[in-house]
Amino acid sequence: MRGDKVVIKEKKEVLEKKQKIPRQNRVMTYVLRYWYLYLLALVSMVIAIVLDVLAPAITRSIIDDVIVAGRVEILMRLLLGLAGIGLGRAIFGYIKEFTVDVAACKIGCDIRGNLFRHIQKLSMGYFDKNNSGELLARVKDDVDKIWNATGFVGMLIAECTIHTVLVLTCMFSVSPLLTLVPLAVMPVVAWTGIRLEQKLGSVYEDISEENAQLNTVAQENLAGVRTVKAFAREEYEIQKFKKHNKKYYDLNMKQARTLAKYHPNISFYTKVLLVAVIIFGGIMVMKDMITIGQLGQFTEYANNIIWPMEMIGWLSSDFAAAVASNKKIQKILLEEPEIKNPELPVSMEEVKGEVEFSHVDLKLQSQDVLKDISFHVKPGGTLGIMGMTGAGKTSVINLLERFYDASGGCVKVDGVDVRRMDLETLRRNIAVVMQDVFLFSDTINENISIGRRGQLEAQAIRQAAGSACADGFIGSLSEQYDTVIGERGVGLSGGQKQRISIARALAKKTPVLVLDDSTSALDMETEFEIQKKLKELENTTKLIIAHRISAVRHADEIIVLDHGSIAERGTHETLMEKKGLYYATYCAQYDAMQYETELKGGMEAWL
């Protein structure tokens, strides 16, 4: 992470083979869903444009007929017409703007919702590779770009088109031959617009990527603020951010330069169009093909066609941004979850909680994580798992919950291969207390009832908290169970977080309960209390991963993992006799000698 070697990888999009975007994900599909809003907007727009075209005629009539010719009697009518046009434009303009705004917002929300749903389905492997700050940028900023394009950008494109067609028709009625001039210039303008869109497209893709990077860098810094401050690395973090901020600036300047390279050309072409109309029109007048009055009218139309053409530059820029963002979004939408629900899952009425691993291997990134793991836990039984750091303990749980699939062998629950079970059924019946406690910035109630929100009685939540020895400290919080906790549970101590996380699992009353080193931050007394409560759950199959002997001591079977395979197995007593790894751990934790002597004293004191 040294300053000159920023580690955030340049994720250059490798041009993958073009995958077809499924119909339901196309932006057009969303647009068509709200066709009625767009139709309403379009009709209002046409009316507003027509009123716009009518206005100069009225003004001219006021000047020609009323002021010059003195026909004062029609003044009031004309004036009311003028005011009416103002009113009409106000009303229809409003309808147009508002409906488009509403429609674009609906589309933006739909796309955002759909993207969110899709990301939810993706497997853990995807989240290992993609930073949450980056995903946030996709769901947030990139969707906003499409929102823009389906809103005012789209409307302006329609407006420009209608306007151009209208003016061209008028031109054609004046002189079909002279209309060839704008018709000749327009393809050039269109071509420039397309070029601009293409050139900007790649710049916008880079901008969108860098925006995601900026998000990632800032997100990491904010999330790791404790580490940053502990090492007093603020300055270093600022430099890291500055680099990305500067890159973001550079890319935005690249966008500006690209825009400046093409966009003014378009306004140049429109000016040339005007000059060409005058020259060719002038020649036609000289050749008596049209009158000078007709030329005057034609030039007025030519003036009117300039703004929609100049608009093209801006619009293709916004359009390009939306296309670039859409690409990023579609890429996520094309991502297939690695773990999929089987097409015909084995139907299971009730899960009893039998867990079996038979000769299970797991390879991740060509590394052996687990090798030939077999064990069998009867419903209501307890398995203790111990082992060195990185021995593969948590991977066992990942396989059981099917966050990954085994590369060899099979994992069975109630005798059924988990790959043939409905994911919903599988995970609903297993509650895991993870080692890496993650709590949401929400109330404690919501955190405990996750997965069964709104279905759990307050009583059940309290009971679970009680079993997890969390009731006491929750009661002392300002709003008890309704206290909002910070993100990831900041503000709570490690032990408090673990207890909420245990309560969260207990509240589900699942047939299988997994505790992954979940009492490490608790003091002995509390751990002891919780273990007593756990023992009372007789019908629950328990898998307990722990470093403390006290946590696995009473298990029906204890397996000790070493580098991905089972090194020792047995009950506490048999393992103690074996005098292997387990025994060594025991000695280290209890210091056998001391244990003998001091405990005697202690026991005597109790007795």
């Binding site: 990632t216 300047m253 408090q496 934790q589």
Partner: protein, 596 residues
């Protein structure tokens, strides 16, 4: 501490819009000379644009009327050349203006980020990360158009409007007044709309921020969501947020879109009044037909910049909320900061003294977390802190690193009061390992080097070996150059702790604080780690918070913390002999074993 969740809108101090605006423009005004150049270029390009109609007029009235083909072609050529110049001007202006506005964004974003680095934990703890991110990224970006339009729209259009009004006034004051009669109504209307829509946009930005918070949290906690099959719930939550977001947007645009309507209405009424008053009240005779015709042209010239200005005003109202949210952070004072003129803490020996220290969090001044704690620690001592959760152990070590300021009393390191030395020079000499070991994306090596940026590869490997992390690192795909995923989630929790340990070791601290630093490491590894660091830490002061007695036992002194006080202190043997709380804790370790 009042914590803001993704559901709730953020609180924000109300600042006058004018203040926010002037503060924002101060960033632009840093580039006065460049703005002047942009305006000069615009003056040139606008003038050329004004010449275009004159050329058309000249061509039609003179050359075509006189059938002067050569003159016509020459004029055409002149027009092309003139417009080429204009194109060059426009290009230059676009680039300059983009540079200006992007630079301002760069500056604001940087200032914001730098300021955030200074803020205290309470700032970060009381709101979701996603909401802070929304301000750094989204809110800053929202200012872009507004900034560049300020120069390219506001000034020229404003000048045009003034110019047209002046000409109209010069031509005929009465008629000019008639034409402008509706302007005050428009201004009043805009003011009303603005008041309502500004509030609505503020809400919209907050709702937007809520979405950021929620999405960010869901993405980081996806495992829990999937594990507990809470997908449907979180979708429902998200749908609620989306709905609120949509409603706040609709409410905002419902009001903001009235801007356009107001202008159209004023335009209609303006035309009505001009001609009505002109013809019926003042009389054509007095004004003159020529003036009347000129006025209809001026009126057209007048309305186009007014429209632009109104749109710009609308843009300001829309995006001001973003600026407010940025300045809101910039105005947040960091709780912990260097006093002015603090000195550097020189290289320390590592003695620590608590002198009647009491502490309470600033938002709960009534509840004292620490009460009148005093102790003295000699350089090189190892102190273990034990006690029930919430007793104040972490608070003590947090105070030593000055993550919080003491409420009463003094903490001295080597005799220096913590308040009298710079935070940087203090923390540089401390090694803190908390329960929350954050790893950054990047390689293993980079992460260890975070402890000391100029550490050599050899020192990194030595640190990793000392904490027994070398073995597993070498088994990774690319060893020390293996890229870690977000928060190091590709590693086990224990491995992450080892890595964080190596990072702390490489920083070569004089005072080491281990707050449950080895809780997820198995006992064997822990023993190896302890041996390793003992060698490295010879003669350094360390504080250890742990629950496992095997971790605590070897400390020079053990403090039993309870109810915000040190209730017992002494060595393992002394405390056991005293048969107090420590003795009880020690027994509990075995009770779980012996009870069936």
């Amino acid at each position: 501490m009042a914590v803001n969740s993704f559901r709730e809108d953020e609180q924000q101090a109300q600042v006058s819009k004018w203040k926010t605006l002037t503060r924002l423009y101060r960033y632009l005004l840093a580039y006065k000379s460049r703005i002047a150049v942009v305006l000069l270029i615009m003056l040139a390009t606008i003038s050329i644009n004004m010449i275009n109609p004159l050329i058309v007029e000249q061509a039609v009235n003179v050359h075509i009327a006189n059938r002067d083909m050569k003159g016509l072609l020459l004029l055409g050529l002149a027009a092309v050349v003139l417009n080429l110049i204009m194109v060059a001007g426009v290009k230059a202006r676009m680039i300059m203006m983009a540079k200006l506005s992007n630079q301002v964004l760069l500056t604001i974003r940087e200032e914001l980020y730098v300021h955030i680095q200074k803020l205290s934990f309470s700032f970060f703890d009381s709101r979701p990360t996603g909401k802070i991110l929304a301000r750094i990224i989204g809110d800053v970006n929202s200012l872009k158009d507004m900034l560049s339009d300020s120069v390219t729209t506001l000034i020229p259009d404003f000048l045009t409007v003034i110019g047209v009004i002046t000409i109209m006034m010069a031509k005929n004051v009465k008629l000019a007044l008639a034409a402008l009669l509706t302007l005050p109504f428009m201004a009043a209307g805009m003011f009303v709309i603005q008041r309502v829509s500004h509030k609505a946009w503020q809400v919209y930005r907050k709702k937007s921020s809520n979405i950021s918070a929620f999405v960010h949290e869901e993405m980081s906690g996806m495992r829990i969501v999937q594990s507990f099959r809470a997908e449907q719930e979180s979708r429902d939550n998200f749908d609620v947020l989306l709905k609120e977001h949509r409603q706040s947007w609709n409410k905002s645009v419902r009001c903001a879109d009235l801007f356009g309507s107001l202008i159209e209405l004023t335009w209609g009424a303006g035309g009505f009044l001009l001609y009505y008053i002109g013809i019926k009240v003042i009389g054509v005779g007095e004004i003159g037909i020529g003036t009347f015709m000129a006025f209809s042209t001026y009126l057209a010239m007048f309305w186009s910049p007014i429209r632009n200005l109104a749109n710009f005003y609308n843009k300001i109202v829309t995006n001001l909320a973003g600026a407010e949210r940025i300045f809101d952070i910039l105005d947040t004072e960091p709780e912990i900061r260097d006093k002015s003129g603090v000195g550097e803490l020189p290289d320390i020996q590592g003695s620590v003294e608590f002198d009647r220290v009491s502490f309470a969090y600033s938002d709960e001044p009534e509840t004292k977390v620490l009460k009148d704690v005093s102790f003295q620690i000699r350089p090189g001592e190892t102190i273990a802190l034990v006690g029930p959760t919430g007793a104040g152990k972490t608070t003590i070590v947090n105070l030593i690193s000055r993550f919080y300021n003491v409420t009463e009393g003094h903490i001295r390191v080597d005799g220096y009061d913590l308040g009298d030395v710079s935070i940087r020079s203090l923390r540089r000499q401390m090694g803190v390992m908390t329960q929350d070991n954050f790893l950054f994306s990047g390689t293993v090596k980079d992460n260890i080097r975070y402890g000391r940026l100029d550490a050599t590869d050899e020192e990194i490997v030595a640190a990793a070996k000392a904490v027994n992390a070398h073995g597993f690192i070498m088994q990774l795909e690319k060893g020390y150059d293996t890229e870690l995923s977000e928060r190091g989630q590709s590693l086990s929790v224990g491995q992450r702790q080892l890595l964080a340990f190596a990072r702390t070791m490489v920083s070569n601290p004089r005072i080491l604080i281990l707050d449950e630093a080895t809780s997820s490491i198995d006992t064997h590894t822990e023993i190896l780690v302890q041996k390793g660091i003992q060698a490295l830490l010879k003669g350094r002061t360390s504080f250890v918070i742990a629950h496992r007695l095997s971790t605590i036992k070897n400390a020079d002194r053990i403090f039993v913390i309870n109810h915000g006080r040190i209730e017992e202190a002494g060595s393992h043997e002394e405390l056991l002999a005293a048969k107090g709380q420590y003795y009880e804790l020690y027994q509990a370790q075995f009770r779980s074993l012996t009870s069936a």
